[in-house]
Symmetry: C2
Subunit: 261 residues, 2 copies
């Protein structure tokens, strides 16, 4: 579609010569049919049909874009813009009308509050754009579950901002937990370049995993891999939907709550 | 206004060359008035300039839309779509090209994980669309802080799904904490209609507060009202940026961590 956009430019250019000396009636008729690469204002101003069409992306190609995007606009922007840029190349419109900046606030777990990891927020927003409710629920659930168990970071950038080698498993989708745990493991401070390097690489890892899951989902081969822990299942046997039904969510309980009988 | 911009592009890009040498009085008149109502595909397919233009909205008018939106598409969708619908009426394009569904996954604290409250996620995404980075950081920070201290719900719908009267203060922006605390206070289960009614009303409260903050921000009268608690400040005097710098975020510490000296 990006090609089509260029095509429309070609049409515009060739039209100049084409119309030289033509009668107005013919030209006006051609315009009214959209034959010269034009859209009616009504079409251009309406929301594109959701979900948007997906085409398979290369996770390896997404990672450096997400990593650089992190340093340009934060974790949520990095993950979202990398997937969107991929889809703009492969599909074009309607991905072209969504500004990458729409998720920037997700940085630092939501305006720095340390809630949901911004890389997850950015990737989830992209997933939501290209799957229906059944699809995004399954894919995002698996992405978040994977995140809680993955030893971040894995991506090795060609031009790192800092040399880091420590990895850590967050056990949680919360930025607060994920960042603080890595800092403890790496003996780093939040403000260190090393910590930012870790989050930049993590952004690449999350965007790539989102693309892997989307590729499998849209090719009909997706199988959910995440399984909640035994401790979580134990807690939910009382607090879950089939019993007390008084604990909302899927985050592991024991990092914040004392286990009890 | 974006119409004007696009109209002028049509006139500038197309008319000049297109009409050269033609018997063009009729066509020129039609084009200069935008009478063909056309945009070039290239214009229509480009992302609108961010941030989008904001116009003052009525928080009272937003609330019933957000409440009904909750029952249609969840908490994130309810808050986001209510603000977007308001801006589509007041401004039109470019709000018209962003599908309301883009934030649906935020429901239940992010695909049901119980992280950031979806109403906050939806409202924050709308705020991000209409403010630059300095603006959305300040406004969203104040919205999240307000959320942690507000006795939800306050909104009284004209046609409630359930009669509820209990309110609770979450002390946290996390869906898990916010919902579980209200259920404990109301002696309700997560799956109860009463709990959904509470989250529907909360969605209205959050969307209205977001609009109040945006109205004041864009009229130059915004003053941040949220102040972190003394306990949080106490924790951060050691764990914050000026000392150990090893705790990410702004969430209160003591609900999950034992206070210590």
């Amino acid at each position: 579609m990006a090609d089509e956009r260029n095509d429309s430019k070609i049409v515009n250019i060739s039209r100049r010569n084409f119309l030289k000396g033509m009668g107005v009636v013919t030209a006006a008729a051609a315009l009214s049919t959209g034959g010269f690469g034009l859209l009616s204002k009504a079409d251009a101003q309406e929301a594109p049909t959701w979900p948007f069409p997906y085409k398979k992306l290369d996770p390896e190609a997404i990672m450096p874009v997400a990593y650089e995007g992190y340093f340009k606009g934060g974790c949520a922007y990095g993950a979202f813009s990398a997937i969107m840029e991929g889809l703009r190349k492969e599909v074009g419109y309607p991905f072209t009308v969504i500004p990458n900046e729409i998720v920037k606030w997700g940085e630092g777990g939501g305006a720095g509050w340390g809630t949901l990891c911004g890389a997850l927020l950015g990737a989830a927003t992209a997933i939501n754009l290209v799957t229906d409710a059944k699809g995004y629920s399954a894919v995002i659930n698996d992405l978040i579950g994977w995140y809680t168990q993955f030893p971040f970071p894995a991506y090795k950038p060609a031009n790192p901002r800092a040399d880091i080698s420590v990895t850590s498993v967050s056990g949680s989708p919360l930025c607060h937990v994920s960042v603080s745990k890595w800092c403890a493991a790496a003996k780093a401070k939040i403000a260190d370049t090393a910590r930012k390097e870790r989050c930049g690489r993590l952004t690449a890892d999350v965007a790539a995993q989102a693309v892997r899951l989307l590729n499998s989902y849209h090719s009909g081969t997706f199988v959910a891999a995440f399984k909640p822990s035994d401790t979580f299942n134990g807690c939910m046997s009382c607090h879950g939907a089939s019993a007390m039904n008084n604990a909302m969510g899927k985050m592991d309980c024991v990092p914040c709550h004392e286990p009890h009988n």
